[in-house]
């Protein structure tokens, strides 16, 4: 052990836990437990992002198929549950995962900031007089605390845009998601927002997918190399898949021309979907 001159100040804890919650809540009281929660909710969110993206690929089949997909989501669970019941359960679960993910991320960031001498606010990175020479930390790992909030802002924008139809106004047609997406993304500023946010999401996922294995202690020297490749693959697929929507709409390859059903004719969409 380093036999340094002792100064009682050094042995004074910086953080004190006032009380211990009962098991299993006490796991969330520790930083390591919180990293577990962040990793587990990260996996859940990752699953959502992937399923959401694959579902949206129906847009390339046309308005009828996208409508059909949206209806399938609402009717999940078949006749077992009331309509949209399972969808609401999924939505609540998703919101819960977001809240836990954000709370654990924010509180751990605050811890690190307080534990670091001369730290600046957002990065929590302490300042040295000389320029820090990072060796291992990469762009993605150092910007988690930027890309995360960007994704959050984008999420709110995205809900207001396509779920609630706030600024499409009269253009927004409940039940014709194909038209809503095309109408929204045809505006260049909106398309740019989608591109920027999804690049941020992919960067977040690139570090996250590697990081979660460490957080959960999934580590085996035999497979450790694969974790980086997996992170690259997952982030890459999500990047290309999600960027395809704003890019192809902007390029005019996905549009409202030549539709079998008129824009907004939901009855026609329903009728066509029945034929499948």
């Amino acid at each position: 052990m380093a036999a340094t001159a002792t100064n009682p100040q050094g042995s004074t804890p910086i953080f004190r836990r006032k009380w211990q919650l009962p098991f299993p809540l006490n796991i969330y009281q520790s930083s390591i437990g919180r990293k577990w929660v962040m990793a587990l909710t990260g996996i859940g969110l990752l699953g959502f992002v992937i399923v959401h993206m694959i579902g949206n690929f129906h847009i390339y089949e046309g308005p009828v198929q996208l409508h059909e997909y949206a209806e399938t989501l609402r009717g999940l669970g078949g006749g077992l549950f009331p309509r949209t019941f399972l969808l609401w359960l999924l939505r609540i679960g998703l919101a819960g995962m977001f809240l836990l993910h954000i709370h654990s991320a924010y509180s751990l960031k605050e811890r690190s900031r307080k534990a670091s001498d001369k730290a600046d606010f957002v990065s929590g990175e302490k300042k040295y007089g000389s320029k820090r020479d990072y060796v291992a930390a990469n762009y993605a790992s150092r910007t988690m605390r930027w890309t995360g909030p960007i994704v959050l802002l984008y999420l709110l924008f995205h809900l207001a845009d396509l779920t609630w139809g706030w600024w499409l106004g009269d253009e927004y047609v409940l039940g014709d998601p194909y038209h809503n997406i095309v109408a929204s993304l045809s505006s260049l500023p909106v398309a740019i927002i989608y591109v920027v946010a999804n690049v941020a999401l992919a960067i977040h996922i690139f570090h996250g997918t590697w990081s979660l294995f460490q957080s959960l202690g999934i580590n085996n020297p035999k497979y450790n190399e694969l974790r980086r490749s997996l992170a690259k693959g997952v982030a890459g697929i999500i990047l290309v898949g999600n960027l395809s929507f704003p890019v192809l709409v902007t390029a005019g390859l996905v549009d409202d021309d030549n539709r079998k059903c008129e824009v907004g004719d939901v009855a026609c969409l329903e009728h066509e979907a029945e034929k499948h």
Binding site: P24, L108, Q214
Partner: protein
């Protein structure tokens, strides 16, 4: 023929823990490239003493890379830019004539500066005190090799035991987290049979103590790069797994392992 170097040093000077501290510039001329970084500082200090100035305080002890006492952030890297090297083993031939070198103390709230480049790392001692030992009664000395230890477990435990407790991992970490140090100390004992009976209790108390001082790991991996003993990040994953296991086990079996 040994070469001589002329360098400019920017050194952190701080007159006690309450002083705000500042950088001071020194010329280091005629430095032999065979010197270690600490010997170079010795030369500067001799000059300072001759000029009746206060010498620069820095930590050192064995000067052979095994005690973990030397520290220093050299040009923004803990123990300098050489891989797997402590500051006492860092030779001046690794620098170029005319270089400017910035020398700072290791920084973290749990490592308060005592004076100049000396920081108080006793928070590490608190972590060790919390469980970095085997305290069960083992009876009289037994025959050698009575406890079978798989070669792989012994090797990995030894790799972890190589940690010299220098604190470079905390200094290099943007979060001031002490995960690498603590996980090395845990793996050292938790991988071998002798450490098993106290494994989960130890994991819980050492991690809980660590968390009263240090920040939270975000898996950057800077600690491993800075570590003079190349302690592996794999130990951090091992600790993360054992910690949650410990919380679950202690609950289920009320202290049994």
């Amino acid at each position: 023929m040994t070469q001589e170097l002329n360098l400019t040093l920017q050194v952190w000077r701080q007159d006690g823990s309450s002083d705000p501290g500042h950088f001071e510039t020194y010329a280091a001329n005629g430095i032999s490239e065979d010197m270690s970084f600490l010997e170079m500082l010795d030369i500067i200090n001799e000059q300072l003493i001759e000029d009746e100035q206060v010498p620069i305080e820095f930590d050192h002890d064995c000067r052979e890379g095994i005690c973990g006492t030397c520290s220093l952030m050299i040009n923004g890297q803990a123990h300098g830019h050489e891989k797997a090297t402590t500051t006492c083993q860092l030779h001046m031939r690794k620098f170029k004539d005319g270089d400017t070198i910035v020398v700072e103390p290791f920084r973290a709230r749990a490592f308060p500066v005592v004076r100049d480049l000396v920081v108080d790392r006793s928070s590490f001692d608190r972590i060790i005190e919390a469980g970095g030992y085997i305290s069960i009664n083992t009876g009289a000395a037994s025959d050698a090799n009575l406890t079978p230890v798989p070669k792989e477990a012994a090797d990995t435990s030894f790799d972890a035991a190589a940690c010299i407790g220098c604190g470079a991992c905390v200094a290099a970490c943007p979060n001031s987290a002490a995960q690498l140090f603590t996980s090395a100390k845990l793996a050292h004992l938790n991988l071998i049979p002798q450490g098993q009976s106290q494994r989960f209790e130890r994991t819980e108390t050492m991690v809980d103590t660590m968390e009263t001082f240090f920040g939270s790991c975000t898996n950057h991996g800077e600690c491993h790069e800075a570590c003079p003993k190349e302690i592996s990040l794999d130990f951090i994953a091992f600790m993360n797994r054992d910690y949650v296991k410990a919380k679950v086990k202690n609950r289920k079996l009320a202290g049994q392992t």
